[in-house]
């Protein structure tokens, strides 16, 4: 296995992009990644496309071929593969690209993700997302994703005295970070009162505890580490790529408030990168709901189980805090086009490590982590990136 680096990144703006189609979004992100890496189309060996539900959102499957075609790569017959793991589709596409280059099978790979979620009615979107849970034994009982995460939140509050204010401060912090990200869907400040006074979706989660429905795409160019400097002066090295599975249904977890897949993927990633949670300078984590960020910082080992709420309220996870979480604004404020999210996290980490994150730049960032979750924890993908080879 050889070392791998990210040599180019690209991302569209995230939001309700009614004037742009799925294919246009992916091509826009791909072109900006390719231009960032200064490579030519003919150098690309393979494409990996993360997407959760083209079939439900835009009634289009066979997205690998679609993207290869509209990226102008069909005439070169470049192999293109769609990767799906619900909301972790992007993280998994990234991992497939990394594995392909690390193995020596391919040299230059584009890993991207895209989702077009606003072409259908919001109830259809909610139902399509509910397909990431167990349709036969959760969905048919009336479970939705806000419902499942609300049950995690309820038990977390019961076991660890986590409060609604602590949940809300995650949204407040991520909205604040979003104000410094020109690509973010929400670039406005909110207060704890804004969250607590917003409509209830699934008790105790208000609408401001939930990530939004978003269109967007992101892409990275992956190359072998030994030739990375041919393309860029600031390659970002992949120190670990880890993935883990957990039970599909939330009710089958040993502990409802712990995402076993996150714990397993993180422990594999730390071992692979030879680092500990304390070595991580900042992280982009899967905050599909405010409670999800609290569980993530616990399950990734940044704080002990049960301490995620008080840690969030203390400012520890803000930019300038001990371990900044979601400087991009996270899924909550930057937006959550499900197939694109896992790749966007890597784009943000690369920008931070290159020192190109503008007003949201974390001073002295050397090692960054990404954490992408599918469903309520059926899949987790953790990557660790570094400025140093």
């Amino acid at each position: 296995m050889r070392d791998v680096a990210i040599v180019g990144v690209g991302c569209t703006e995230f939001g309700e992009l009614w004037d742009r189609s799925f294919r246009e979004l992916f091509v826009e992100a791909g072109i900006s990644a390719i231009e960032d890496a200064n490579i030519q189309g003919g150098e690309i060996d393979a494409l990996y496309v993360g997407n959760m539900s083209g079939g439900r959102f835009i009634e289009q499957e066979h997205l690998g071929a679609l993207i290869a075609d509209y990226a102008g790569l069909a005439s070169l017959n470049i192999p293109s593969t769609r990767v799906e793991a619900a909301c972790a589709s992007g993280g998994l596409a990234l991992r497939q690209g990394i594995v392909a280059v690390a193995s020596g099978y391919h040299d230059i790979v584009i890993a991207g993700g895209a989702e077009k979620m606003t072409d259908v009615d919001v109830q259809i979107t909610t139902d399509a997302l509910a397909a990431a849970a167990d349709r036969e034994w959760e969905g048919v009982m009336g479970a939705t994703f806000p419902g499942l995460y609300a049950m995690i939140a309820r038990l977390h509050m019961h076991k660890y005295a986590t409060t609604q204010e602590q949940l809300a401060c995650v949204a407040v912090k991520n909205h604040h970070n979003g104000t410094m990200n020109p690509k973010a869907q929400f670039q406005n400040e909110i207060s704890i009162e804004t969250v607590l006074n917003s409509i209830m979706v699934a008790d105790p989660l208000h609408i401001y505890d939930c990530s939004p429905i978003t269109d967007g795409a992101s892409a990275v160019v992956i190359a072998p580490a030994e030739i990375a400097r041919k393309y860029t002066d600031t390659p970002i090295y992949v120190k670990a790529s880890a993935q883990a599975s957990g039970t599909l249904a939330l009710h089958d977890r040993l502990d409802i408030t712990t995402l076993d897949a996150t714990v397993a993927a993180a422990s594999r990633a730390y071992r692979m990168a030879k680092v500990t949670p304390g070595d991580i300078d900042f992280a982009e984590v899967h905050d599909c709901f405010t409670i999800a960020e609290i569980c993530a910082i616990e399950d990734l080992g940044f704080v002990r189980k049960g301490e995620g709420g008080p840690a969030s309220l203390s400012g520890m996870t803000a930019i300038g805090g001990k371990i900044p979480i979601n400087p991009s604004g996270g899924l909550k404020a930057c937006g959550h086009p499900v197939g694109a999210t896992g790749v966007k996290q890597a784009v943000e980490v690369a920008l931070q490590l290159r020192g190109e994150a503008g007003r949201r730049q974390i001073d002295g960032a050397e090692i960054g982590l990404t954490h992408n979750v599918g469903g309520s924890g059926g899949t987790a993908v953790v990557h660790i990136f570094s400025r140093e080879k």
């Binding site: 009982m141 419902g147 609300a150 049950m151």
Partner: protein
């Protein structure tokens, strides 16, 4: 869900029939055709659960998918059955009374419907066990 997909699960949904592994004596609901503990060496047989359990966690759903939107607000819960396994279902009771640890029993109810002309789903929901002394 499509008609065949629901029909295949009727006995499980209506009568709370799951499975038990004869080798390790572990109970499963929802049913599985392979024991995750014993894997290929396990022997799964159908098992009818008594239908008693307690609320492990819950939420009051104020917003839902199109098939369930008409039912909101409703209580969604994870229930730990006395035999061991956990399942997701709804609890029918006052939103003021629902709490973690509440004792509940199963009941046959309408789950949802696809549309005015579509299929109506029936299955198992839960109600508070008002008099615990009559439990068994």
């Amino acid at each position: 869900m499509s008609v065949p997909r629901f029909w295949r699960r009727l006995k499980n949904l209506y009568n709370l029939i799951g499975t038990r592994c004869e080798k390790c004596n572990e109970y499963y609901y929802p049913p599985r055709n392979m024991c995750p503990k014993c894997r290929r060496s396990g022997l799964m047989v159908p098992f009818k659960f008594k239908g008693f359990g307690e609320v492990l966690t819950y939420t009051v759903m104020h917003s839902s998918t199109k098939d369930y939107a008409k039912q909101t607000p409703y209580i969604l819960a994870i229930i730990k059955l006395d035999e061991g396994p956990n399942l997701t279902s709804q609890v029918i009771c006052s939103h003021k009374d629902i709490h973690i640890g509440m004792r509940v029993k199963s009941t046959f109810r309408r789950l949802g419907e696809e549309s005015e002309r579509g299929m109506i789903y029936y299955g198992t929901k839960f109600v508070p066990l008002i008099n615990p002394s009559k439990e068994f």
